[in-house]
């Protein structure tokens, strides 16, 4: 990821009012995550399983935080139980899902990305989580802000699927 894209992320998250970051490190975010970890305006929580992270984010929201998860596409496979459980039991918990959408149209990186990449929108559709996709960092800052506006209006998760190489 280019340094300027790291800065776009930071600006977008701050403008959106995000103050609680949950992540499981993944290759594409190698430069982003250290920048987030040392940024004092975020509580930064690294997890072992993104499903745990979604539930931790729900607890953080109930404690007054505005949480976002920064994860790769397979997080939606692991986290489907968490998201469905929070939705089914409590009517949803607000959190912004910022998802690396490797394995989407145009990704020439490798076949192994596509299982998670193709499942991501299916899981979001199945859980009725609003989302959009972008493949150009020029729109990233605004998309993060609009995503959090969606989270707060719906009081449920919303997701931004970020297309492969340009963002990371």
């Amino acid at each position: 990821m280019k340094e300027e894209t790291v800065q776009i992320f930071l600006r977008g998250l701050k403008r959106a009012g995000i103050d609680f970051i949950v992540t499981l490190p993944f290759t594409q975010a190698a430069r982003l995550l250290p920048a987030l970890a040392k940024e004092p305006s975020f509580k930064y929580v690294q997890v072992n399983n993104e499903g745990d992270g979604m539930v931790i984010a729900a607890g953080a929201w109930m404690g007054g935080k505005r949480p976002a998860l920064i994860v790769e596409n397979t997080a939606l496979c692991l986290g489907a139980y968490a998201l469905a459980g929070l939705d089914g039991m409590y009517g949803g918990m607000p959190m912004l899902l910022l998802v690396d959408h490797r394995g989407s149209y145009g990704d020439g990186g490798g076949y192994w990305y596509f299982a998670g990449g193709q499942m991501a929108p299916v899981i979001l559709d199945g859980l009725k989580i609003p989302y959009t996709t972008i493949d150009n960092p020029a729109g990233l800052e605004e998309a993060i802000v609009r995503g959090q506006a969606t989270v707060e209006a719906s009081s449920r998760p919303a997701a931004l699927l970020m297309g492969c190489t340009d963002h990371w």
């Binding site: 997890v47 931790i56 607890g59 953080a60 404690g63 409590y90």
Partner: protein, 209 residues
Amino acid sequence: MNVMESYDCLESLAKRVTDELIVTNLGSVAREWFHIKDRDGNLYRPYMGHPTPLALGLALALPHRRVVAIDGDGSLLLGLSVLPVIGAQNPSNLIVIVIDNETYEATGGPASFTAGRADLAGMARAAGVPNTWLVRDLPAFDGALDAAYRGNGTSLIAAKVKPSTRRVGYAPLDGPENKYRFVRYVERTEKLNILKKPKKALPQDVKPR
């Protein structure tokens, strides 16, 4: 053979509770805690595997406020991956009580792995949780709870109990109602504005009812 009942542990916890935020497992523990001490600061019945991470999120968001997870053996076994996260974050305001009846009681009682060689307090200790206890009787539970309330760093108490003999009813509130009651309580006691307020004022010709 275990001698304690979960109800006894929960009664002991109830004597200490003031303004704690408490997240309970589903099943008999939720019913018993509702029966013993229903209050606005209780969140009941997240899905299996979720009480402890949900309580962790609360504890990290409100580091000055004590948060108690009342989890179960089957539930924590489903989500063991949270233990190293707790060990790393180590919030001093978090107490995890595992009501370990060594069974999947709600399903009719098949044994969980804690009936064998699995030790949840040992797993928590190995994951970096600094204060852990495995207790088998009420005086030991009380002592562990006292120490947890005084503790520096996160505490986890695995309480070995026999399957519950109390038959108390379900909490008469559903999940969304429970969520909003709980969040309003957090807002009230922490002076926070968590639930979204409408951004636009009503038109002047529309009077709120």
